[in-house]
Point group: C2
Chain length 474, copies 2
């Protein structure tokens, strides 16, 4: 609490002095009166009168899950375009992009029998998977902990279902790292077994907790010949634990699953872009974005409805607080992050084609929980400056500023001059909901969401004020 009191006290003190007089009392030249006051305004406005929560309610509850190529994705495009126009941004437009079009089909089914009792398994197809035959797949199961372990089985996989069952490492504090340590099973688990005649793969859901919700997510067959494609699905964490136990007792039990998903021809879609034109450098850009598409199972609330409303609200908060950015600030609602990142690639390709100068980009795609900090992914020259901003945002709880990846949608913009950053909220609950039917609006807290909007606006404000594509002079 002390930090907070200090911040308020400092803000009040600074308001009563003039800038030149106070600059000398602050150690870091970037931590000055104007910045403290602007940031306090962003937080005050977001927390007392923010709009993001109701926007999110609309997106998640009136449109819901919005997988690339779906009618809901198109509705989300129109929703985003209308909202940004209604907010009065200087320019709002759609950037066409062709996207993969995978559809789930009928609800998946999985079960097996032990000692004459049928065990129903919560299951969902992984995005990009092929269907099972109409009568499903029924086979004995081999449990493994990794893609490498499966590969080593070789011909032993013939006629079997491969079951990837490596759990999240619970001792990792950041759940994103635990996800990173497991997700290879989901993404690449179906590439090798088909070559050796396996009939399908199933994977323990990518989740921090034990429950009954299967988590979907993208998988890839890479460049294997299509005749080696086999169907692949996720089962819930509880089901995975139970199946593993049953396999120890009944190694020859036969697992059945059936899914009817398919990949249709690529579909036309759009990134949705809104911008506030820069007052000094209208042809230099700072991008803030999240992804508009989501998986189909839930409402796409934390993944990534929150990133969408965060990004739009950054521009709104700049407008509402009367901040005129020097650079052009763009909110980009990227399409197709979940299964192709086609929108991200298109945005970066167009930027290159048009020789656009991109100064910085910020992405929110780790949910809408309480802000903890920002990652930095840029050149050495700007790192010290970026990290110095921590002092301005620590009073608001953003204490975790570290080097690291920024996000899938802005990484294609990376070059030697651009500063990329990823918004980093508290990670503990994110993978409880991620890619499931329970990623719904009610899991998002208004204050946590609005703190995120204000924190992101603060970073964009600082990027706009202090960064350029030329290294900062010391």
């Amino acid at each position: 609490m002390k930090h907070y009191f200090l911040a308020v006290f400092a803000a009040l003190l600074l308001i009563s002095c003039n800038e030149k007089a106070t600059t000398s009392i602050v150690k870091n030249e970037t931590v000055n009166k104007t910045d403290s006051i602007a940031i306090k305004q962003f937080f005050n406005t977001a927390l007392s009168d923010g709009a993001a929560y109701e926007w999110l309610r609309d997106l998640t509850q009136n449109i819901g899950g919005r997988l690339s190529g779906s009618p809901e994705a198109q509705m989300a495009v129109e929703w985003g375009e209308k909202l940004m126009k209604d907010e009065g941004f200087d320019k709002v437009w759609l950037q066409p992009v062709m996207v993969p079009h995978w559809v789930r089909g009928e609800k998946e089914v999985a079960n097996y029998s032990v000692n004459g009792a049928k065990v129903n398994v919560p299951v969902c197809a992984l995005g990009g998977s092929i269907a099972t035959p109409n009568n499903g797949v029924t086979a004995e199961v081999i449990e493994v902990q990794s893609v490498e372990e499966a590969e080593a089985l070789g011909e032993k996989m013939r006629g079997k279902i491969i079951f990837y069952n490596r759990p999240f490492d619970a001792t990792l504090i950041n759940t994103g790292e635990a996800y990173g340590g497991c997700v290879g099973q989901r993404y690449s688990g179906a590439k090798i077994p088909g070559k050796f005649g396996a009939l399908g793969t199933i994977v323990r859901s990518m989740s921090s907790r034990q429950d009954d919700y299967p988590h979907t997510g993208v998988m890839s067959y890479g460049d294997i010949p299509s005749e080696e494609y086999i169907p692949t699905a996720a089962i819930s964490t509880n089901a995975a634990v139970l199946l593993s136990k049953h396999l120890k007792e009944n190694p020859n039990l036969k697992f059945y699953f059936k899914q009817s998903c398919e990949t249709l021809p690529d579909a036309p879609s759009f990134n949705v872009i809104g911008e506030i034109t820069g007052s000094e450098f209208p042809n230099k850009y700072i991008t803030v974005g999240g992804h508009l598409d989501s998986w189909d199972l839930g409402e796409g609330a934390h993944d990534d409805g929150t990133g969408i409303v965060h990004s739009i609200e950054v521009l709104s908060l700049l407008k509402r607080t009367g901040i005129k950015p020097k650079h052009t600030i763009r909110a980009v609602l990227f399409m197709n992050e979940e299964n192709g990142t086609r929108g991200a690639k298109k945005y970066a390709a167009e930027a290159k084609l048009k020789n656009e100068i991109h100064v910085a980009a910020l992405e929110s795609d780790f949910g809408g929980h309480t802000p903890r900090g920002f990652s930095y992914d840029g050149n050495d020259q700007n790192e010290e400056l970026f990290m110095s901003w921590k002092a301005l945002l620590e009073p608001y709880g953003l204490t975790d500023w570290s080097k690291g990846g920024a996000g899938a949608d802005i990484t294609p913009l990376k070059n030697e001059t651009i500063t990329l950053s990823g918004y980093r909220p508290d990670s503990q609950r994110y993978f409880d909901y991620h890619h499931t039917e329970i990623d719904t609006f009610d899991k998002v807290n208004l204050r946590e969401l609005e703190l995120g909007s204000a924190a992101m606006t603060s970073l964009i404000y600082l990027m706009d004020k202090y960064l350029d594509v030329e290294p900062v002079k010391k």
Copy 2:
């Protein structure tokens, strides 16, 4: 994420060296090999095999709300005693204490009519309030924003219901401060109006959000004569906003509420105490505690079931990781924090009576969300040492270490030598549930809860190792 990697790297590095060799490479003498390893063990054990979550499920779902003097409070006493005995603590006992015994009676009712339409109001009596007459209270309403504003009304209050409607200040980052800025309306709002003939008071619920759940909580008539007592209740935040709007349109509308609560004679109850005997200073004590009682409306999950299971798990984690504390470590499940703090007063009084030497105490009574830090409430000599421990816990997200109050149950132990600390988790969601029917087990996240147990165990370990009642030598 960087911090985390650094911590793991440091722990691994340190494991491979001997203590003397590595001490020289760390700046702060308290940040040494043994401490880093012990703390990592606490977190690893809690996160991969913690027990607190299932204990909490049992306490909240099998016993539920447990207001002082209720059969459920007695069940909770027996539950805590049995659990700590089962955990094999060196000594477990009950410390008798007489507690207030207030009962809610029948479900409260409140409503009013505007333009012929009846508006039902979610309402609950405040703890300690008297009942309304059998036919309820019906009166015109005067809306105020503070106790002072009511007081200034004087005789204008006669025959009226006073409606305290100051909302939380949403711009405060820590919701505890927003609560502190409003709770006077609830606690003291019924003291003045009765003197001037008001018939009752109602208060907008102490909540960070707009919803339909009334929040109960303790109130006091102070030392006014009992003939000036008037009934007082809380209404939901949505109802408060609506009532305020309706009052502007219909200043003479008549509000009705009815409640049948009453204060029975004091009842016998207990603090539940478990301890691990100190290996070097068995007669010097370090206390870790939360409160076992809760309000009756929900399950008392975040307030304060989480503090109870945290406290018990601190001792369990010390045992499970083979740490033998020098001082005697006590888990104290305090009775009656909510409406009297009689357990706290009794514990401190007994300690004084027996001339017990209390080195330190830690309290968890701010919910079970992700840990953010600890408060320090001690003497100047130990402050620097205490704050130096931040370096050890920052890798686990505990970055907010500040001076401030420790908690209602341990503050009676305060003297010139003791070090008190309050556990400080993320505050954003706490007052969404606090004192309502939705303070239930499902609002608690396993990982967030277990991170708290590990963080608290780490602090108790450091207090035991480095603190004593004598000032630390520089």
